[in-house]
């Protein structure tokens, strides 16, 4: 029983690990912090896995657990992200065949998102991941209306940082 559960967890988590990586990129700014957060997300997802009923998709559920882990960890730590740390993230997203314009945009995007607070980061992340509002409100535990209001403000803040 336990073994089956663990096998299922390993398969689910391995195939969906990019959710965790993307959240780590948004909430941390260097390799060590990225791996720390990734580890904490792994622990939390595994710890909560028996509660995953399977009435939603695993990825949907994982967004919730992983984001909540990142938010609560980010609140506990007093460290503020420094923008010069950003180069560490940039090296990871550089590939040869990658379009230049989009690379510039992506770098600017990460730099801007890093300046948002923990909840705004989560909102923007879910927007970028193209999640519907029903899922966003469920993931963050707020009402649909509240999610829309908060999203509008978060987007406004992001736009101001991107186009000062």
């Amino acid at each position: 029983m336990q073994k089956d559960l663990e096998d299922k967890f390993l398969v689910d988590f391995e195939t969906n690990q990019n959710i965790a990586h993307k959240i780590c990129r948004i909430y941390t700014s260097n390799r060590d912090a990225h791996n720390d957060l990734f580890q904490e997300i792994t622990i939390q997802v595994w710890k909560n896995y028996p509660k995953f009923r399977g009435d939603s998709k695993f990825s949907t559920w994982m967004y919730r657990v992983a984001l909540n882990t990142a938010i609560s960890l980010y609140r506990k730590s007093t460290r503020q992200l420094k923008t010069q740390d950003f180069d560490d993230v940039a090296y990871k997203i550089k590939t040869v065949e990658y379009d230049d314009t989009e690379e510039v945009q992506l770098k600017a995007l990460y730099k801007a998102v890093h300046q948002l607070n923990d909840i705004d980061k989560a909102l923007i992340f879910l927007y970028l991941e193209d999640k519907p509002y029903t899922e966003i409100s469920e993931t963050l535990g707020i009402s649909n209306v509240n999610a829309r209001v908060k999203m509008t403000r978060a987007k406004e803040k992001l736009k101001n940082i991107l186009n000062p």
């Binding site: 690990q17 595994w46 992506l106 995007l109 992001l158």
Partner: protein, 204 residues
């Protein structure tokens, strides 16, 4: 300037993380709580060592040294203190090694072995502290009775022995409670991890 939708598109097209974790690595990460428990055992051990050492700055060691001297115990106490510090230091090294080994563990069977080892180290450490405490108490009592034997009546000796016995029980009780709180909680968590691992082992 680009609109948010442009950025969203760039986000959607970003390459995947170059470093992908394997199932085995994910398994290790998910079970890595044991290493942080062992890390705490190590940190608490160091704190205990530092606190015990700094206590001697506050306690009037000269007066107690004079008392020991009067009883002819000064050398015994000095040597046993040196030995005790040596042993404490040895345990600190063991705690550290346990921590290091558990952090770089690969299979669940090995992790289990290392958890057992850590539990043994902690148990021995607590046992040593208890016996050292008891040893000092017995020694001081014996020396005291020896130097004052002629001035004391039989009744007084019995009373002193009884008093010391009760006092020893109280001191050891407090010490036991202290360790129960300090290491007991950590060991229970470690034990839980061990049981979970053992169950996995059996079923695989």
């Amino acid at each position: 300037m680009y609109s948010l939708d442009n950025y969203k598109k760039a986000w959607g097209n970003q390459p995947e993380e170059t470093y992908q974790f394997s199932a085995l690595e994910i398994y290790k990460l998910a079970h890595s709580k044991s290493s942080s428990i062992v890390k705490w055992i190590f940190i608490i051990g160091i704190l205990e060592f530092v606190v015990l050492n700094s206590l001697s700055f506050f306690i009037d060691t000269e007066t107690s040294y004079d008392v020991y001297k009067e009883m002819g115990l000064e050398k015994t106490i000095l040597y046993s203190t040196i030995v005790a510090y040596g042993v404490l230091f040895y345990f600190l090294v063991l705690f550290y090694l346990n921590y290091k080994r558990i952090s770089t563990t690969d299979s669940s069977r090995q992790l289990m072995k290392k958890i057992i080892k850590t539990r043994k180290t902690v148990r021995n450490y607590v046992l040593f502290n208890f016996s050292y405490m008891a040893f000092v108490i017995v020694l001081v009592t014996a020396a005291y009775l020896k130097t004052h034997f002629n001035d004391l009546e039989a009744k007084q000796i019995v009373l002193i022995l009884l008093l010391i016995f009760v006092l020893t029980l109280i001191i050891l009780g407090v010490l036991w409670l202290f360790y129960q709180l300090l290491y007991g909680i950590l060991l229970r968590k470690l034990n839980y991890n061990y049981k979970a691992l053992a169950k996995l082992e059996k079923e695989s």
